[in-house]
Amino acid sequence: MNDLTSLTIATAREGLRKKKFSAVELTEAYIAAVEKARVLNAYIVETPDKARAMAKASDVKLAKGEGGALEGIPLGIKDLYATKGVHTQACSHILDGFKPTYESTVTENLWREGAVMLGKLNMDEFAMGSSNETSYYGNVINPWRRKNSNAALVPGGSSGGSASAVAAHICAAATATDTGGSIRQPAAFTGTVGIKPTYGRCSRWGIVAFASSLDQAGPIARDVRDAAIMLKSMASVDPKDTTSVDLPVPDYENAIGKSIKGLRIGIPKEYRADGMSSEIEALWDKGAQWLKEQGAEIVEISLPHTKYALPAYYIVAPAEASSNLARYDGVRYGLRVPGDDIVDMYENSRAAGFGPEVQRRILIGTYVLSAGYYDAYYVRAQKIRTLIKRDFELAWDKVDVVLTPATPSPAFAPGEISDPVQMYLNDIFTVTVNMAGLPGIAVPAGISKDGLPLGLQLIGKAFDEETLFTAAAAIEQVAGGYQAPKWW
């Protein structure tokens, strides 16, 4: 039975429609696989009873030929998404015991299409981290290991549980979110596909807020087609999120397999950062070559403000986070630690509830927004954002899509990076995309000398996710897929 978990969404969908197996059988196979893979710590809450009930309902609909686009497909949900009556804590202690009385718009969309929830996935606390080491619920383990080694590696972050679960086949696909690279970096570290759509493509309603002008929902999936299927169902305009954009959601699957003949691919020279490893550089060149061989035109471009994106991000994101996280006061939900008076209670609750990385970012954010510093930091960073966005707008005159590496290195070991700034540098290739609000996709493209997956990133024009799916599928077609050897 367990080989049902090896099916992609596209193949499982076919099997369900042809009644080769039932949604209940598919879900049972995943529930068993989830239990066996607990060592990965990808799920922090398993919801097998809910999954069985949803699968049963799917079978009823499938029997009548009424199934939705994801009917009977078992998914994992990042703990950042509000799920009605089910643990939702952004993997923070401060939301201790929080069970929302409402459902996020994105998950609501998925359930409407018939998807089945297997449980909630581990992540960095409040999505702040690049290695899934800041979760209150402990580290997530990457299913991938270095050649001839049993040592644990991080799955990347913040959507580390999502990436690990997809790579280990303990969900068909997962929801994730990306504020600076939190979908694309873990996808690259685990040999999976992750897309951060254009800001405004998916509703942010019911997703625990980190940095509201950067946060965006997206899927992590096993291949490009599955990512396209997921995004189609996740995306919507939503009256409850005024930043969600009222544009029709294309059938992204149609973009897969289209010819890339004549597509202009930009190679930004500024991404050849000092100290780029020869392995990453070779992967990048190889990716460009693959696209060229399929008829694309390779064009060198310049994005001169690239190097300022990450430091500007570390003003904008903590500033917005310090404001968003002000709501955790020990009064309305979550943890309360008593104090001498109400202010003492606030301070005790927040000191006990937030982990060190979250506290660090709240303090940075509070500092850069404090009287006298607002113009020097936040306003300057927002001006630099305008320049970063303009760099891309000028590039779009010459190219249709931009190709870059997804990460500066393959997955590393827990504890290997302890300096905050060094950890932040993991997002050096992904963060510009959030700053400019553009869509970006990470697609597996090779294996490192240590035997670990490496990913390439494609960046597109606003709301041109279709071209990203077309180009990513062209890379995937040559690179093939990568599957972690099962050791758990």
Partner: protein, 95 residues
């Protein structure tokens, strides 16, 4: 700009996070290292550049001024650490 220990205490107070005295020095070091790294932004000429306020230029949507939700006080206090009769309970604020 350099953050001293008094600034850490002031910012922590503003952020309503109790910081243990033995952690103040470490935090000052960490914040300084991040702020020092951010200072490279001063190289950029931003003269005449407008700050970005929206990622996608769209007309601000407005909702109709009508009630679409509500009348569920129990849901609102459902997750409160302390509540009574659909009110949040907090330590005494006014003497």
């Amino acid at each position: 700009m350099s953050v001293d220990q008094a600034t850490v205490r002031r910012v922590a107070k503003l952020a309503r996070i109790k910081v243990k005295e033995e952690n103040v020095e470490r935090l000052a070091g960490e914040l300084n290292s991040i702020l020092h790294w951010i200072e490279q932004l001063n190289e950029v000429d931003v003269e005449g550049i407008e700050p970005m306020t929206a990622v996608v230029t769209v007309k601000m949507k407005k909702r109709k001024d009508i009630v679409t939700d509500g009348n569920n006080p129990h849901d609102v206090v459902e997750n409160a650490p302390a509540a009574e009769d659909d009110y949040f309970l907090v330590p005494k604020v006014i003497e």
